[in-house]
């Protein structure tokens, strides 16, 4: 990491209005949310078991999905960035598909694949009785499906732009491929890895469509914050706003320090 101080560039004037517009576009809805927040009831709402259950499930499933994405996504990104094989562009397109697929459709596809009447789900269910939908595993699966592409793409582009001469040098000095990957490739790609993990986590935390379609909605088992917010909106708008605020605060608490440290 090159932390040598550079003279801070002054932005060309023409960029500023656009940058300002960008900030305002994101900030204004947030301000509107704050303005409608029922501050006096906030304490009661936050102690509500519905909220604490949903928050716990959201955080657990977002971290689990990020962990699985790291485990599977980093090797996948390496293969996509450093090797050539027939059909690579097809694989690359396939990997990014969940980003453009409507999440509800993704959830239905997961159900047809892993449900108890699903392509793979049926033999697993018949053999072991294990069922992904309607469980926390289902929530994690839905989150991983939707969020992993963010990690794969970020890490892949990080690996692609990394200087490969260090790896070559290590290889001429006799380091094994695994040692090179561990000692050179990963440390060099660390910023991209963390950026990808953060994007993946953030996407998983807000996941709604695939989760509700694949894992269903049950308080304490599969009801994450976005689901709780959606249902609260049906009956009690104040509660929905308070819940959204919790989600915003939790995500900012994670994103702001990380962003300052790693995502510059």
């Amino acid at each position: 990491m090159n932390r040598r101080r550079r003279p801070r560039g002054r932005a060309p004037w023409v960029l500023l209005p656009f940058a300002g517009l960008g900030v305002a576009f994101v900030a204004l809805p947030l301000v509107a949310l704050l303005q409608r927040t029922p501050w006096s009831d906030l304490g009661d709402l936050l102690g509500d078991p519905v909220v604490t259950d949903a928050l716990r499930l959201s955080i657990v499933s977002a971290f689990a999905a990020t962990g699985i994405s790291l485990l599977v996504g980093v090797p996948l990104a390496w293969v996509l960035a450093r090797t050539t094989f027939p059909g690579r562009s097809l694989v690359r397109g396939l990997v990014t598909l969940p980003m453009v697929l409507p999440p509800v459709v993704g959830g239905a596809a997961l159900l047809f694949a892993f449900g108890r009447r699903g392509l793979l789900g049926q033999p697993i269910y018949d053999g072991t009785g294990f069922l992904l939908p309607f469980s926390l595993w289902g929530v994690i699966a839905a989150n991983t499906f939707v969020a992993m592409p963010f990690l794969v793409i970020t890490v892949e582009s990080g690996l692609r732009s990394a200087d490969q001469r260090y790896e070559e040098a290590a290889a001429t000095l006799g380091a094994s491929r695994w040692t090179i990957f561990r000692r050179i490739t990963v440390p060099h790609a660390l910023p991209a890895l963390l950026a990808g993990a953060v994007l993946c986590w953030a996407r998983a935390l807000g996941e709604f469509g695939a989760t509700v379609t694949f894992a269903g909605n049950l308080q304490g088992r599969t009801q994450t914050m976005p689901l709780a917010v959606f249902l609260a909106l049906e009956s009690d708008r104040d509660a929905a706003i308070a819940l959204s605020l919790v989600l915003v605060v939790v995500s900012l608490a994670v994103l702001i320090p990380l962003r300052d440290r790693w995502l510059r």
């Binding site: 090159n2 453009v100 409507p102 509800v104 449900g115 709604f208 269903g216 249902l231």
Partner: protein, 270 residues
């Protein structure tokens, strides 16, 4: 460092892309009334012989045919339909969504719009009762409400925040059954889809939903003394740009022709 900035910018752009993806999903969902209801699909301003009807998810198939018959009877008038849960539609209308007609699956959502001055008057146009829905062939051998308390079965209800969930719980309470749901679906169509796919053993939905799902599912009647009859009110939205067309649609729904279509879909006459 610059690369990182570029990378994060790219990531952010992708987040935005996915946000768009979510919108598409919502559009799809309200078009098929499968779930997400944050979108106002195809709800253009009501001008030039086009009206937008916001209708409860359980009316999806029936209103599609009603709208077709209405358009056939009124050349030049076209009907845009937006289906979602009644409460989500109520919220959209309160936030100024361009609806001309609102058809709700329960009285309370309509009453809230009348109180807010968004709807002048409403009239009940159909009734709907509950049925237990099971996948075709009833693989779990469900026979009645008692089975919905069986922990061994995969049971789905509607969330209590939406009308079908509220009515369902009333019926279960009347029968003295404490249900053991594995999921509380955000709307009735989402529940029906999971039962039809065989992923749930049983659910509690409207008779009209069982009829519209066709051969994929079977319905089991509830004893009359426990059943809850939902009444569906319809009304024109006060801010409509075309009050005549909106009123014409409501009258068509209440007419013999409109009622005959609704009866075919399992609804009852008020």
């Amino acid at each position: 460092m610059r690369r990182l900035v570029a990378m994060v910018a790219m990531g952010a752009a992708m987040l935005a892309l996915v946000a768009c993806g979510d919108d598409t999903a919502a559009d799809d969902a309200s078009a098929t009334a499968a779930g997400d209801s944050s979108a106002i699909a195809g709800a253009g301003p009501a001008r030039g012989g086009s009206i937008t009807v916001f209708a409860a998810a359980s009316l999806t198939d029936a209103f599609a045919e009603v709208a077709e018959a209405f358009e056939a009877a009124n050349p030049g008038l076209s009907v845009e339909l937006n289906f979602a849960s009644s409460s989500a539609l109520r919220e959209q209308i309160l936030e100024g969504a361009p609806a001309d007609v609102f058809a709700s699956a329960n009285e309370s959502n309509m009453a809230q719009l009348v109180d807010a001055g968004e709807v002048d008057t409403s009239e009940v146009f159909v009734t709907n009762s509950l049925q237990i829905v099971v996948p075709a062939g009833n693989p779990a051998g469900v026979t009645g409400l008692d089975d919905l308390a069986d922990d061994e079965l995969l049971i789905g209800l509607c969330a209590e925040e939406v009308p079908c969930g509220d009515f369902g719980r009333q019926a279960l309470a009347a029968a003295g059954v404490t249900p053991a749901p594995d999921t509380n679906e955000p709307d009735v169509r989402a529940l029906l889809t999971k039962v039809e796919a065989g992923e749930l053993d049983a659910g509690l939905v409207y008779v009209s939903d069982v009829v519209s799902a066709g051969d994929g599912v079977e319905g089991i009647d509830l004893p009359d003394e426990f059943n809850v009859v939902a009444t569906y009110p319809i009304g024109t939205v006060t801010s409509t740009g075309d009050a005549d067309a909106a009123t014409a649609f409501v009258e068509f729904v209440l007419s013999d022709e409109g009622q005959a279509i609704l009866l075919e879909y399992g609804f009852g006459q008020p």
